[in-house]
Symmetry: C2
Subunit: 214 residues, 2 copies
């Protein structure tokens, strides 16, 4: 398998965590999202990924896009260790956490949205930063409330083994900290992210451990 | 089962389509997102849905949130007719279309984001409308390119039977048209949405057919 990834991309990081947890070897193809106006826009890459986003996973003849679809694919083709629990109700719960991060927090703060705010709407740097903080903090506040009150929460989002939910949470926490958001204000999220960071499989997937890290 | 839904909510509409395609009966519990400052914020509802969003599906003792997690749950608990194909590569493809809509288009244009633009950033009505159009049109442009060039596209996004991808596409097209976006500029998307609208299962799930329709 070959993963087209940018070290700092949160969506790429999710897939790297899944590959790492499942001990799947892969070639790393860096796509620098800021260099030369963004390598993701080059025609050669856009043939693989019409949306011009990372990651893309190539497995034999198959070209897979969208981080959560890729993780579900890895779960179906390499079921061990599982990143989803067994019961449908629990699978739905884990997916709902992953989707809350992937749909409610991440998209509003990604690069192209921040660029539109700045270049098209002329929003000042401070207001752009406040925008970023607002959506992460609002999303983390409800997620914290959710995780802190649910009996299924363990050392990870669901029990004591990592799932797809943690593969989404850890990159979002990394991003939040990079933008100087105090994640200690969300103690359950903070604790789970720190626990994950202490494990080799998560460490291997971290931005700083990638070939294109700066 | 009981579905907490708002007739115009795109995410509620996705789940209504899935329930309808699978012929599953359910009680409809309306959550009016604009009345009284938003019924989704009431403490009673927030016990079910920490994020204060719709939909929420209650199935026996289980409370399920996030539209795509709910659709996956319905697929696992009521497999017929399937809303995902059989092969992992094809399942990933269908999920990637659903996620492109649910993660790349929809979140940036939802109610709370438009409100922040208006009330916090003081963006004028015209610029707010341009924002809406921009993200829908940008997302539809790449999705159109994708669907028009992929041999798997049929009368629906994947072949000739509806999948999770169509359950996401149809509500997004409904929304786009409501905001006067000319979807004919995206002929494959336009054709699939019109084909779906002609079918009873999709018509039953449409906003205008709901008890809370205005």
């Amino acid at each position: 398998m070959k993963l087209y990834s940018y070290f700092r991309s949160s969506a790429s990081y999710r897939v790297r965590i899944a590959l790492s947890l499942k001990n799947l070897p892969y070639d790393y193809a860096p796509i620098h999202m800021l260099r030369d106006g963004g390598e993701q826009f080059k025609p050669e890459y856009r043939k693989l990924n019409h949306d011009a986003v990372v990651p893309t996973l190539v497995d034999g003849d198959d070209v897979l896009t969208q981080s959560l679809a890729i993780i579900e694919y890895l779960e179906e083709t390499h079921p061990q260790p599982p990143l989803l629990p067994a019961a449908p109700r629990d699978r739905a719960y884990v997916r709902s956490i992953a989707l809350q991060i992937a749909c409610e927090i991440h998209p509003i703060d990604n690069l192209r949205v921040l660029r539109y705010l700045k270049h098209t709407l002329g929003v000042e740097e401070a207001a752009k930063d406040a925008w970023y903080r607002h959506w992460v903090e609002a999303g983390f506040a409800t997620l914290e409330e959710h995780l802190a009150s649910d009996t299924r929460t363990g050392t990870f989002c669901f029990g004591d083994t990592p799932t797809m939910a943690d593969a989404c949470l850890v990159p979002q926490v990394f991003n939040a900290r990079r933008f100087k958001i105090d994640t200690a204000a969300f103690p359950t999220i903070h604790r789970i992210a720190d626990h994950a960071a202490s494990l080799e499989a998560f460490a291997r997937a971290a931005p700083g451990a990638q070939p294109d890290a700066e």
